[in-house]
Amino acid sequence: MSSRRELIAVEGVTKRYLTSSGSVEALHDVSLSVDEGAFCTLIGPSGCGKSTLLSMLGGLVAPDQGRLLVEGQPVSGPDPRRVATVFQEAGLFPWRTALQNVEFGLELQGVPAERRRRTASELLGPLGLSGFAEKYPRELSGGMKQRVAIGRALALDAKILLMDEPFGALDEQTRVLMGEWLLDIWRRTQKTVIFVTHSLHEALFLSTRVAVMTARPGRIKSAFDLPMDYPRSMESPEMVALRAKLWSEIREESLRAMR
């Protein structure tokens, strides 16, 4: 983490949604800076606009005010060459095999069939899916599906990986293992990851930077760096203290969100 080059900048972003009961402010004046190579976690109560912020970084939603920059350039739409997204529900195409799902992004970019097949096949090994290339999503377990979805994102070889609660639908054990596996992938590929989660454990175990969001309208309540080495022990006094601090902040916001 020697380089401190800013890769992503969110500057004063505000977003309102129109619903049947009127206009709702999802995000209010959100600013955030993420360095290249960081693993930045967004954590906060349900409905605080974490996913909206991620959709904006992915170019799927435009802000009402403020701007989002990637490598100094404003985000104006999906840019799969620089930003790859993993969604909460794997979102695999059921009529495509695991391999074909991993190839999807490359296919849209017009990469020749043979080359994209090779790229996708090489990814399946580290994804732990070697024997499953020809399986369809319905034949895969929840964890495997999510790994295929991560493979589909990694195949783009984009600098930035946006992950919207990628392990939210998995059971606790699988979730912990997937976290360890993701750390390994992240450290090997040197991606910059923005990771949305509800889980304190995931935030502390994985991130180099944590941003806590407030209840709606979402703002950044606090953001801090986690300089500890990996793999992390959740029992170290430093970690226990951090966990208590993070929990008190999230608890406060979650209570507000429930009201």
């Binding site: 840019d79 997204t85 999807f104 849209l108």
Partner: protein, 248 residues
């Protein structure tokens, strides 16, 4: 192989039962297969109905025209109603209500509008074939998981790519089912139209033979028409398989 053998055995059994039943009945009403075969031979050798090829060609042309119109209109309407929420909500119930009306009630007015020639048969075939196609497109669009559309957009897909890579494959099963049902109903519509009132086509021949109590000829004509129906369904299932391959 075993299934095929059992099917043939069943067929033989049915034909035998038909033979026995046919022989005990009034020959004007019941025709055993042994009497149908000579009639079928006379029909195919163009002895009993020399205009069989022309009638067959006319019926096929009517079906093809009716089906082409039904698919074009059904797919067009289906997408228009399915893609625009407001239009869909305004027109949807009307479409479903019209579909529920037994289409044959429209036939007299179709004959008044389009006359006794091919046009009224095409119109009736169209009317029957249109609804399953339009409703299948509507149902298909509703089946597309919006999450997959978001995924495709995030991966750089534009409107055309989303349509081709996400919507069409997601809809394919329902869509092809509707297209197949539509064809079957077009065939029924045209033939029923011909039987109810026409001067030419397979339905007219059937009507003629039946009206003159030439029961053997009548059954032979029905058999030929049956081949037409089965043939169209075989064609449809071939197209179905191709379409499935194309989406992969």
């Amino acid at each position: 192989m075993k299934v095929l053998g059992l099917r043939l055995a069943l067929l033989a059994l049915l034909v035998a039962a038909w033979e026995i039943a046919g022989r005990t009945m009034n020959p004007l009403l019941g025709v055993p297969p042994s009497a149908v075969l000579p009639a079928l031979r006379d029909l195919l050798l163009l002895r009993s109905y020399p205009d069989l090829p022309a009638s067959l060609a006319l019926t096929v042309r009517e079906i093809a025209t009716a089906y082409a119109l039904a698919v074009a209109a059904g797919v067009g309407c289906g997408f228009m109603l399915g893609m625009h929420r407001l239009v869909g909500r305004v027109w949807g119930p009307m479409l479903a209500a019209l579909y529920a009306v037994p289409a044959v009630v429209w036939y007299p007015s179709l004959m008044l509008f389009f006359g006794l020639d091919a046009a009224s048969k095409i119109a009736f075939g169209f009317l029957l074939g249109f609804f399953p196609v339009a409703l299948a497109v509507l149902a298909g669009i509703r089946q597309v998981n919006p999450q997959l559309v978001v995924v495709a957009r995030a991966y750089g897909a534009g409107t055309v790519t989303v349509f081709r890579r996400v919507m069409l494959p997601a809809m394919m099963f329902t869509l092809v089912g509707g297209l197949r049902t539509g064809l079957a109903l077009c065939v029924i519509g045209v033939i029923v139209g011909e039987i109810l009132g026409s001067k030419a086509g397979m339905g007219a021949l059937i009507n003629h033979a039946y009206g003159l109590l030439r029961t053997g000829d009548y059954v032979a004509l029905v058999l030929v028409t049956l081949i037409l129906v089965v043939g169209s369904d075989v064609l449809a299932s071939t197209v179905e398989r191709r379409a499935r391959r194309w989406t992969e």
